[in-house]
Each structure stands twice: as C-alpha cells, then as structure tokens.
C-alpha cells in the first residue's frame, strides 16, 4: 500500500516574473525613501533651500557675463544627483546590510540583482526629481532663463550621473564597516562637492583646489551640467564623459568583486 508521501519528484518551479517583482520592489523602495525624513532632508530640502538662498537669490552677473543664479543651478543639480545616489542606494544598502535585512531579502525568491536595481532606479528617480525642483526654483524665484531643451538635457545627465555615484554608493556600502558608513558618506559627499566647485565657482577657490578638482568625479559631472548651460570651462565635453564612464566602470567592476566576496 503506497504511502501518501511516496517519492517526491521536484517539478520545475515556475516563479513570478522578475519584471513584476522588480516593479513592485521599486515602488516599495520609492515609498520607503519618500517617507524617510533624513533622506528627504539630505537630497531635497538641503540642495533646494541652499540653492534658493545662495543661488537663485543671487541676481548678480559675474565675470564674462555669467548669470550667477543660472551658473549655480548646475552645481546644485550635480550636488542633488550625488546626494540622491549616495544616500538613496549607498546608505540605504549599508543600513539594510547592518541590520541583516539584506539576508532576509536574499533568502527570498527575489533575485539579488532585482533588489539592487530597485534601489538604483529609485535613487535615480529621486535625483531627477531634485534637479526638477531646482529648475523650478531657478525659473520662478531666480528668474533664470532655461529652455525646455536645457531642462531635459540636465535631467538626462542626472540619470547618467546616478549610475556613477550609485556604483560608488554600492561599493562603499559593501566595503566599509556598517557603523562607519554614515560618516564616510558625509565625509565624501560634502567635501567632494565643495572641492569640485559645485557651490563656489572654481575660479574663486585656492589654486590647489583648482588643480585637484579635475581628479574628482563630481567636477566632471558639474562641468557637463555647466556645458548644457554654456558655462563650462574650456575643454571637450567628451573628456568629461570619458572620465565619468571609466570611473563608473571601475566602480561597478570593484562592486562586483565586493559582492562576490561578501556573499561567501
């Protein structure tokens, strides 16, 4: 007489489509970051209010006819994109790693790539949102003249910037000990922004800063943004794109290695 639990065969398990899982995960991440007060402050409130106070209100015209409010829009837009990626992917991932929440996600049927991608997409969306908010402040409060094309191009660049700084965020989240990640992100983000000329034009900064800035990825992102507005330093835009591409590629490569090592 055969027992009810006779040999179990292992039917091939057809899972939920990865695309659907990714979509739901991304929505979930988006709502989560929307509700996270610290994230809102760091990525939206701070860049927007700082720009409103120091940038948009500056109706002066600088050297060579540079309209200050328009010039600074590029720097703050870069700042916003970097913040959204570093905190939206990097710190987010670091926190979930510290709490071991990441292991619970990894033990679920959600592919780990979808888990990371959901965070990346969400952070990118927030970066673009910040740029949009800055543009609104610029156009209304700052009386900046911005064409539709320029606005769209800036958003496009923000998407590319999110890839580079997202990779940076992931790498730091995986490599730096959990209790230090928050400090590391702050330490990288704010000084790097300043030293890359995102807030104060490089021309007004000490010589050593002007010399070291081109080694920083934030500098190149800002130059591309400035290029859209016609204010970039002399030099080819292609070089800036190349730098960001190589820098981003190296970070992604290192992140892959870090992932493999930490998942051992």
């Amino acid at each position: 007489m055969s027992d009810a639990t006779s040999a179990i065969d292992y039917p091939l398990y057809e899972g939920v489509s990865t695309t659907i899982m990714l979509a739901k995960e991304t929505m979930h991440e988006f709502v989560k970051l929307l509700r996270r007060r610290q994230f809102a402050i760091a990525t939206k409130l701070m860049p927007v209010t700082l720009y409103a106070v120091f940038g948009a209100s500056n109706h002066a015209t600088g050297q060579h006819g540079v309209q200050m409010a328009r010039y600074m829009l590029a720097g703050y837009a870069s700042f916003g994109v970097i913040a959204a990626s570093l905190y939206g992917i990097g710190l987010n991932l670091a926190m979930e790693r510290a709490q071991n929440w990441i292991d619970l996600k990894r033990s679920s049927p959600l592919p780990f790539s979808a888990y990371l991608l959901a965070k990346a997409i969400t952070a990118t969306a927030f970066g673009a949102l910040t740029v949009l908010l800055l543009q609104l402040v610029a156009v209304t409060y700052g009386h900046v003249y911005l064409t539709g094309q320029e606005a769209i191009e800036m958003i496009g660049v923000s998407l590319a910037g999110s890839v580079v700084f997202g990779a940076m965020g992931i790498l730091i989240a995986l490599v730096v000990p959990s209790n230090a990640t928050h400090s590391v992100f702050n330490f990288i983000h704010l000084p790097m922004a300043f030293l890359s000329g995102l807030w104060v034009p490089l021309g007004s900064l000490p010589h050593w800063v002007q010399v070291t800035a081109p080694y920083l990825p934030a500098y190149h992102l800002a130059q591309i943004m400035l290029g859209i507005l016609g204010y970039a330093q002399p030099g080819s835009m292609g070089f800036h794109w190349l730098y960001l591409g190589v820098f981003g590629g190296v970070l992604l490569f290192l992140s892959r290695i870090a992932l493999r090592v930490t998942n051992k």
């Binding site: 709502v31 989560k32 509700r35 071991n100 929440w101 033990s107 049927p109 959600l110």
Partner: protein, 316 residues
C-alpha cells in the same frame, strides 16, 4: 571517548523517512572554515517532508552557518547544499521556502501590511492574507509602521514574512527570542499545524524546552560536527544516566556500595533518596530485594537540558 560519526541519512533511515520520500533539503558533506575556525566539518543533514528538525548546539557550533547554506546565503567551501534538488543560490530555487532570520531591524517606514504584500508577491501561490494575519496574530498591527512595533510584535511580523509564500520548507533561526510565553506557544501551535499539513520545518534554537516540545528529530551539533541525533526521547535516553528516586530504609553508605549506583544523595525537595545509575531496572531489582519497605519510587529520565550539557561539554 571516540567520536561516533552520525550520518543524518542513516538515522533518518532508522526513522523510516528515507524509504518513503526524497529529502526536500540537504547539506552533503559540507565544510566551512572562517579563518582558523571550523564552522562545519564534513557536515551532512537531510530534511524530509513533514519533519520538524531542530538543530541544537552551543554558540559558535555552526547552527547559523548551516541555515545560511540552506538558504543560499553562503557558498559551501566543499560539499553541496540543495533545496528540492537545486542550488539554493539560484533565486528560483527559493520559491517554495520561507525563512525567519535574526535581523537587527526592518525598514521602519513601511507598514506591516506593505511588507506582507511585498513578500507575498514574490511567490506564485502565496498564503492567503487572512490566514497569514491569523497565524501571526497581526490583525491589530497591519497599518502600523514597522518602526512602531514592540519586540514581540516584530518577531510575529517576521514570522509572518517567513510564512508569506505558503512555503513547503520553513527555516527558523532562533524564532522565539524576545517573545513572551503566549506568543511563543502560538508560534509552536502554528509550526505544529504546518507540520501536520506535511510542511517541513528546520529550526535552530537554544531553548531546549522548545526543541523538546516541537521537534520530531533533534540534531545536536558541536564544533561543526553532529554529536547526536534522534527523536527528543531517544536523545534523552541515549545520554548518560537516569535517576531513581525512592523512600528506602537502607543507609546512604549501603546505597553507595551497591553495584550500578554512580552517586547517592538525599533529594532536598521531598526527602527521598536520589540514586544516579545507568541501569535503573537492575538497581530497582536489587533495591526491592534488599528493602521490603521500599516505596514512592520513580525513575526519572534526564531532562533534555542535562543530556545536552553532557553531550556538548568540552572534553576534559
């Protein structure tokens, strides 16, 4: 004492499991080393449908490593891990399992219902929401953000996440830590109900009462190796000694000189004599022959705790 190698497959065979079905999850001859420390040493274990298997061991014995290997969170340095015959590191292999791990925190901004819905969406046929809420007693907590839950409530929510997919195999890593006794008993009841449905449960715990109450098979692990394996009753009987308690007219010296008596002492709780022995039946025969006034006797099996301590004590 030489270490007896217990192979999970042979014990399961004794329990009649292997004959009836294939294992739903298996670790085969797995070795894991973290630096100089050996977490698992040629460790093998198989889980069969309907079992509740408890993995017991001191801290650092390798319990969490075993769970991590089953879930695909770590790769075996040698040997193999499988879920339903497939590699647990592949996401689609985990479609029929659920896990409750020790997490320090959960995204606090999301409501309990949002977490539940997200995890349910990972599975083709998840557990119906109403049933899930009932199992984990979350009816009052659905709209609350995770950051606002108490410790015990968080554990219940994490338990619900493990059940969200209506899994065939449930992995629970120290599931009742921080739970009050009512919640703990409720969780036990759910585990028993799932086991009755033919689901498999793999549980690590350091609450011996929990292992005793819940499991159909206990595996005791120490320093990465299986030390003992069997049903809770088998474990309790296999280890060391039994205690014979009785009221007797014999003197304590006379008792101590009897063959088979390892130690004799007056039990402070009721004044009876407590005699430690490996063969209680022999001892009882001797006592009954020598003392016609012998009464109030009972033979006490060592508690699981005592068995566990004696099995995992460091070798002198």
């Amino acid at each position: 004492m030489a270490t007896i190698k217990y192979n999970s497959v042979s014990t399961a065979g004794e329990l009649g499991l292997a004959a009836r079905s294939k294992p739903v999850a298996e670790l085969s001859d797995v070795t894991m080393r973290y630096g100089a420390a050996l977490a698992l040493d040629h460790f093998s274990i198989a889980l069969y449908p309907g079992e509740v298997v408890g993995l017991l061991g001191p801290n650092g014995a390798g319990k969490s490593t075993a769970v991590n290997l089953f879930l695909g969170l770590r790769s075996p340095q040698s040997g193999k891990a499988s879920l339903f015959g497939r590699d647990p590191r592949v996401a689609s292999s985990r479609g029929r399992i659920g896990a409750m791990l020790q997490v320090g925190g959960v995204p606090a901004e999301m409501k309990v219902i949002e977490h539940l819905e997200l995890f349910r969406s990972y599975y083709v046929s998840p557990m119906p929401l109403a049933e899930l809420v009932r199992f984990a007693d979350l009816a009052q907590l659905l709209d609350r953000r995770f950051g606002r839950l108490s410790g015990g409530e968080k554990q219940r929510a994490l338990f619900a996440l493990a059940l969200a997919g209506d899994p065939d195999v449930l992995f629970l890593d120290e599931p009742t830590v921080g739970m009050d006794i009512t919640t703990r008993r409720s969780l036990w009841a759910v585990v028993r109900a799932l086991s009755a449905r033919g689901k498999t449960v793999f549980l690590t715990t350091h609450y011996l009462e929990e292992a005793d109450a819940l499991t159909t098979r206990i595996v005791i692990i120490n320093k990465g190796r299986i030390v003992r394996e069997g049903t809770p009753d088998q474990i309790k009987r296999l280890s060391a000694t039994r205690l014979v308690r009785c009221k007797t007219a014999l003197s304590i010296d006379a008792l101590r000189s009897m063959p088979g008596v390892l130690s004799a002492a007056v039990d402070s709780t009721d004044g009876r004599m407590a005699l430690e022995t490996i063969e209680p039946e022999e001892l009882l025969r001797d006592l009954l022959l020598q003392d016609r006034t012998l009464c109030d006797f009972e033979v006490v099996t060592r508690s699981l705790e005592e068995a566990f301590i004696s099995l995992t004590a460091p070798v002198a």
